[in-house]
């Protein structure tokens, strides 16, 4: 039986992958402080990714990889 935290992390990783490129800003040419808005998204998203990875490492490290942990 797959645990709730396994499902939650699988969903989290999927979202991190899916929005690493901000598809919803496709063809947007808005500039913020001289740089494209999608570039700011990238900077923020890498921060979010790092935070998520850190939380995963702290709380659920070993999930999916070690046998017997669910």
């Amino acid at each position: 039986m797959v645990s709730r935290s396994a499902l939650a992390w699988a969903a989290c990783f999927a979202v991190l992958l899916a929005l690493a490129i901000p598809w919803f800003l496709w063809r947007s040419d808005t500039l913020v402080a001289g740089l494209p808005v999608w570039l700011w998204w990238h900077v923020a998203w890498m921060g979010v990714t790092a935070a998520a990875f850190a939380a995963f490492a702290r709380r659920d490290w070993g999930l999916f990889v070690e046998v017997g942990q669910r």
Binding site: I21, D29, G34, P36, L39, H42, F53, A57, R58, E66
Partner: protein, 497 residues
């Protein structure tokens, strides 16, 4: 020779001397076992592991090829790198890397081939993985030597001929890698990585300040087409194919894959995993924005040159541009040395020992590993002088070739029902497919591409990943495990405490 090229030569010389000194220290603290020579005794901490992987991964791409792409096509390449290295490679680092680390620690594996050969009880599989890896690695090393040789020619204004430049760099790397092993390589990479990151930010802030002071400001330095996400070369399929193909390929590149084995503790792996995306932002955003700005401010890029040095020469003093170019040259060398070391370990452990001399002592293997580095490097040097066209093409398509190994390897580690026959089918089948798409004629069937470089915008290497899954799973499902197979080798090593 100009003042700038004197600075460059000076920096390159200092780099080589520091690397040699580090190598000597590393030699003194490395014992004569393969595990210590190739894997630094599985003892690298967070900072060193982070930077040695980073420096190995990036090479001169950050300063040269990457910004050139941003210059030509727009800064969207930053997003490709974010998905590729920030998220995908991070996850591969955990799912493949952490599992490999556990298996390596429990069973003493030094190479990927060794790990698979043990699980499937197959010397042939071990040799196949090593053979495929060396096939793609060798021409790739050759390309690095060609690049470094040409850079030296450029630096000295032709005073040093190409053969001497490439030869000098080869000689340096052979001596240094043969002496130092993984520990010295990793230490040098760390110095190199910190230097690279620092100098990138100085360059970026310098150029940004200069451009912001002009009439158009920073916004004016981005051409209209570059501001909008997508368009031009950047289709969704193209961006995803690049990100997936390269991230997966990187994980199977011997010098990166072997780094999955070297962490000193779980804590190191956890920290590296979390810091990874931050490093990606810190390095690529400034480096590639510089490439895009160079286009906006109207700088020309002559064929065969790189845009970052041109941009720096426009906005910063000559000595500073020289410093960056020298840093890039050092980066090129620090990637090549890791490749030499890993190539040598694949050869001695997975080909020489199992097939030629099974009884080789540890002492003999240690000597052989160092000789292997020299043979590999000198052969690649020979190749870089002759430059056979087909070998150059193999080198430039190496990422795709390595990527094909990933699906069978991942299945072997995660799916107990994987069989030896399934592994052979998955590896040999996808290699044959990918080689056919690179070298073979285009074949279509009723308008649908069968053998082609592009499948409705998706690259052949990504299609090959799916094929690898299908072949490995399909053949495993219809075959029974050979009596020599031993799935429990993996399971026992992976039990949570």
């Amino acid at each position: 020779m100009t003042g700038g090229s004197l600075v460059e030569l000076g920096v390159v010389t200092v780099y080589m001397l520091v690397a040699l000194a580090v190598g000597l220290v590393a030699y003194r603290v490395t014992d004569r076992s393969a595990e210590d020579y190739y894997l630094a005794g599985r003892g690298l901490g967070t900072g060193v592991l982070l930077f040695t992987t980073f420096a190995t991964l990036l090479s001169a791409f950050t300063f040269f090829a990457g910004p050139n792409i941003a210059y030509a096509n727009g800064p969207e390449w930053i997003l490709v790198m974010g998905l590729m290295d920030g998220v995908l490679f991070g996850l591969l680092w955990y799912f493949l890397g952490y599992r490999q680390w556990l298996l390596g620690k429990a069973n003493g594996y030094v190479t990927l081939g060794e790990m698979l050969g043990d699980r499937f009880g197959s010397r042939g599989l071990r040799g196949l993985v090593a053979g495929v890896s060396i096939f793609w690695l060798f021409p790739y090393v050759m390309l690095q030597q060609i690049g470094a040789g040409e850079a030296l020619v450029g630096l000295t204004g032709g005073a040093v001929p190409y053969w001497a430049g490439a030869g000098l760099i080869t000689l340096f790397m052979v001596v240094y890698v043969a002496i130092s092993g993984m520990r010295g390589v990793a230490w040098t990479d760390t110095l190199q990585g910190v230097f690279m990151l620092g100098i990138t930010w100085v360059a970026f802030l310098w150029v940004a300040t200069e451009i912001a002071g002009t009439g158009g400001g920073l916004a004016g330095a981005l051409p209209a087409e570059f501001r909008a996400l997508g368009g031009g070369a950047y289709s969704p399929q193209w961006m995803l194919s690049q990100a997936i193909g390269i991230a997966v390929g990187v994980s199977m590149f011997p010098q990166v894959n072997q780094r999955f084995f070297v962490a000193d503790s779980e804590r190191t792996l956890k920290r590296t995993f979390a810091i990874w995306p931050l490093l990606v932002v810190l390095l690529f955003v400034p480096a590639f924005l510089m490439g895009a700005w160079a286009n906006g401010v109207g700088l020309a890029l002559p064929a065969g040159e790189n845009i970052v040095p041109i941009l720096l020469n426009e906005y910063t003093p000559g000595w500073f541009a020289a410093l960056v170019v020298a840093g890039a040259l050092a980066a090129m060398m620090s990637s090549s040395d890791s490749m030499l070391l890993s190539g040598s370990s694949y050869f001695t452990r997975d080909i020489y020992r199992p097939f030629v001399n099974a009884d080789a002592s540890d002492r003999r293997e240690d000597v052989l590993g160092r000789v292997g580095v020299a043979v590999f490097a000198i052969a690649a040097f020979g190749g870089s002088l002759l430059r056979p066209g087909s070998l150059l093409e193999v080198g430039s398509t190496a990422f795709g070739g390595f990527a094909q190994l990933a699906p069978p390897v991942a299945l072997a580690m995660y799916w107990r029902r994987t069989t030896k026959a399934g592994m052979f089918a998955g590896i040999a089948g996808t290699q044959a497919f990918y080689l056919a798409t690179v070298f073979g004629p285009t074949v279509t069937l009723g308008g649908v591409p069968v053998i082609a470089s592009s499948y409705f915008g998706w690259f052949a290497q990504v299609v090959g990943l799916v094929l690898g899954l299908v072949l490995t799973v399909g053949v495993s499902a219809v075959t029974t495990p050979a009596t020599t197979e031993n799935p429990s080798t993996y399971v026992d090593a992976l039990r949570a405490d």
